[in-house]
Symmetry: C2
Subunit: 574 residues, 2 copies
């Protein structure tokens, strides 16, 4: 063992074993260790970390790339400016950290791990009573050939961020391409554009951005925002190879488009759990490819726990095993593991799957199951849409957003909520997450009491309105998805019930031969004669409520074929 | 009946009765009528409104006063610029509105009401099958003599707002005094200062602002913010008389201070339910002074419903009858009443009591019971405090706030949350409101999954941390309230574990003879010798976590008398 590894870790006999050994120094690992050390000061706790950096906030990487965060140190510092290093963990938190020490083997019979020191390749063994595996996740390797270059990199490790910033600061990146339109890809698209003014292309193989967390008609709002910010977005496009041209610049070869030559490529194809060690040790791996754990985060070996991105989790909605790599969950795993090691039986409840992502000025969020995922899981999923201001329209700085609520048709059980817009969506994601966690239904949305004051909210919460749309739907009102544009109903009469001033600013996209009528809601009763009762009427407005009210008027006047466009112009076109 | 009252309401025989008659044209009334009209187009629905103005957003009055909202019309307009007048309600919503028509009597035997037209004093009778009373609330009359003047007014009706704006616009108000430090009083203090640059004094008879919704040590944060904004705040002060000086300026006579001469006085002593009509008709009035209703919002007469500010409601926490005048609740009452009239049995669940108020840059919120209210109600209430950034400290524009969580000691049932700070508190108020509505406990806070991304939140939600403090408390760690300053522990050793740079900026207020030690957390283990083990140590830091960690270190080193100051400097001093 090299001398400089740690002053707290010399090879005395006393140091050949710890009560608790933790593998992994980001999120779950340090959280477990700190909680344990607080609960029981007599425990000897040792954490091994492969990398030099410890306990960095990797979720901040895109903002480090963008310059919102100035230096890497900020991600490893406490809020009061003390660096979370070996010394800090020993002195402030009470446990040992050995960085640049890769655990290469777990021997479950002898209850020992073998550690290889990065600096000189030397190896030692160290015993444990309880072991915690928090090895995190690694980038999914590209399923296409990729040339070796410091201009083609993933974006998951500190080195990746430093590499990009070095080249960008040197003015060497004029154009970048991001492979993968998930969270990191979308966040990076903002980072490259905003700070660096880099011309950016985003390629996603699915037909939409943020697949699995958003349904396609919600994801399109993220795509529109990126396009508004001059990011070129290619969805449904597959990269077949990334090679280098004669100058060493990456050339991205695509299935449908011509090859694109850029100065930098980010490989953001997602991550997969790092389970090599666990697998070699014969621990059970779950169907998701992550380490199988029970609700106490215990693996198939009762002395070994796993948490964070390397461990699987369970959906609170349908009990399915899922893999969700999230720093927030990793921290919560850490607490649960520590409590169980101490002997306080504590269950991790599973996940609702709550996400937020900022894409330029657009706030995007999701919790629970999307309609697509729910249907695939065999649930009888139904949905409603709505668009809302985040505070009363009369209040300054009121901003809009759209919501899609997914629920189970017969039981009315809440399954999920998706949100996108420039207004405050966080409250709604959080509330629906809390309600899903308590196994709630549409009735609970009506019963939810939101904090109300004009600077923050409207008198009725969007969740109340969405619950109202569910009832309307069940009373026979038909709502169509915002994705449905006028061409889809060739023989329909389209009815725009907005005021002329509004229509001038936000013109509804009409099909070429569309039969389009504009009658403001207030005039509708008097001008019903302009519409043909025997034909389908599709009603549109700004956010939805006027269309609904218009449908009421048409139905009461004997119209039988009426459809309401959900969420209005705000949902379909912004 | 005067001709101009309404083109939809002539005295034909057909018009001497409606299926549903609604008394009151703001919030609950129009909401009930609109829902009914949507559900059943055949119903004849008539709404009588005493005032000329209908369906105005009275919660916006302070922002109208401040100029955030430019004109009164904005409060009566739809989001698309159409005024909500008689014509609008008839044509868009499908029901009749008769403004300037005061209902003066309800005859429950003949099922008729008597209406007096404001314009000419004429009266008519009108029958009903179902009646809805939504008469709102009126200002509490001052319990002291008040001179008649257009410079001494409440702030609850459109006329009050117009009156103030007229004088303020004419430059006639240099100094104003607000009697009452509730929501409206606090909002007004901002309005007068921000837009009009009016020198403002706020007088509250209780020893704190926002009594009943905040505990005193949280309310003091609102007081500090007002003082930072140069509002003079006099709590624990009683007005004994408001007279006029020779120039007609109001003179406010106080119990403890010299009389204050100002140009305008706002009487914001709260509101009380307007129940005159109901009382005269022999309907039961509840213990709160509001109309008694069952959970279907039905009064003691099965054909009469009441909702909005004139009706009492039930606490979802302890089942007590309470009076909470809120536009948001009034709207929700409206829906419940309409559904029940239609025959869809629908229960109003009671209230959790969620509030938000913006006081200059300070966001203040509360849900459920305060510690004081809970104890008064006989609950075994316990509490924890915490201070938090609303997003990671490394992220730009991260802002702080403090939370006080109140829970039942043995059952761990959530009783309430209070919040104040410059950061985003709304999510937390909403989530705890949702959880209280589902009868949740501290364990549910641990299990709550918040939406996480650095632009919006930290990896662990403040609610997770608060739950952690509850556990720490039960493991024997002692926390003291932020209200407790150094003088309260004369013989204690005070230990500030912040970094020297932090202490320089935010100096902890020390008692004159305080035994004060500054040892940064990271040095504490090595410098334990500086503290006397036999004496009490009170630990302070910026937000709380370092004090807790320090207490762990002291306890593990054998210190027996250790107290942690809750929520740190942020809670106690900002």
């Amino acid at each position: 063992m090299p001398e400089n590894s740690s002053c707290f870790f010399s090879m005395t006999e006393d140091n050949q074993k710890s009560d608790v050994v933790i593998i992994g120094g980001v999120a779950c690992g340090p959280k477990t260790a700190a909680t344990l050390a607080r609960r029981n000061g007599d425990l000897k706790i040792t954490l091994f970390q492969k990398e030099k950096d410890i306990s960095y906030g990797s979720c901040g990487f895109p903002y480090l790339a963008s310059g919102d965060i100035e230096s890497f140190d900020q991600l490893t510092e406490t809020s009061y400016g003390v660096v979370r290093d070996v010394d800090f963990f020993k002195k402030s938190k009470g446990f040992n950290v050995i960085p640049e020490a890769e655990v290469v083997e777990i021997n479950r019979t002898s209850k020992k791990i073998r550690i290889k020191f990065i600096s000189d390749g030397s190896e030692i063994e160290h015993g444990y009573d309880k072991l915690v595996i928090a090895t995190g996740a690694n980038p999914v390797p590209p399923p296409f050939p990729v040339a070796q270059s410091d201009r083609i990199k993933p974006f998951t490790r500190p080195g990746d961020v430093r590499n990009f910033k070095r080249l960008a600061s040197a003015g060497q990146i004029g154009k970048a391409l991001i492979v993968g339109g998930g969270f990191i890809g979308c966040e990076l698209a903002e980072a490259t554009g905003v700070l660096w003014g880099i011309e950016t292309v985003l390629v996603e193989k699915e037909n939409q951005l943020l697949p699995y967390v958003l349904d396609s008609e919600m994801a399109v709002k993220a795509e529109r925002e990126l396009k508004r910010q001059n990011v070129e977005v290619l969805t449904g496009e597959t990269v077949t190879e990334i090679k280098l041209d004669d100058d060493g610049n990456p050339v991205v070869v695509l299935k449908k488009h011509d090859p694109i030559t850029v100065d930098y490529v980010f490989l953001c194809l997602g991550v997969r759990p790092e389970v090599t060690l666990a697998q070699k040790a014969g621990l059970k791996i779950g169907p998701t490819g992550a380490i199988e754990v029970n609700n106490q985060m215990q693996t198939s070996d009762e002395n070994i726990y796993a948490g964070g991105d390397c461990a699987e989790t369970t959906s609170r909605i349908n009990g399915q095993k899922i893999f969700i790599p999230m720093g927030s969950l990793a921290n919560r795993h850490g607490r649960v593991i520590a409590e169980n090691i101490i002997g306080n039986k504590t269950a991790f409840p599973g996940v609702t799957g709550a996400f937020l992502v900022k894409i330029y000025d657009l706030n995007v969020g999701s919790v629970g199951l999307t309609e697509a995922v729910a249907r695939k899981a065999g649930l009888n999923a139904e949905f409603v849409w709505g668009s809302f201001p985040d505070k009363p329209d009369y209040y300054p700085e009121s901003k809009s957003f759209s919501l899609k609520l997914v629920y189970e048709k017969d039981s009315h059980r809440l399954l999920g909520l998706q949100a996108a817009g420039h207004g405050d969506i966080c409250r709604r994601i959080d509330v629906v997450s809390a309600l899903i966690g308590k196994n709630s239904t549409i009735a609970d949305l009506f019963d939810f009491e939101h904090g109300y004051a004009p600077p923050y909210s409207e008198a009725l919460d969007p969740l109340h309105h969405l619950a109202g749309v569910v009832l309307a739907r069940e009373k026979g009102f038909e709502f169509i998805s915002p994705a449905t544009v006028s061409e889809d109903y060739e023989n329909a009469q389209w009815l725009d019930v907005r005021e002329p001033d509004e229509i001038k600013i936000q013109t509804w996209p009409k099909g070429e031969n569309a039969d389009f009528h504009t009658i403001p809601l207030n005039d509708l009763r008097e001008r019903l004669g302009e519409l043909d009762k025997s034909r389908l009427v599709v009603i549109v407005c700004k956010r939805g409520p006027r269309s609904y009210q218009s449908a009421v008027i048409l139905r009461q006047a004997g119209f039988k074929k009426v459809k309401i466009q959900s969420g209005g112009y705000q949902a379909a076109c912004v």
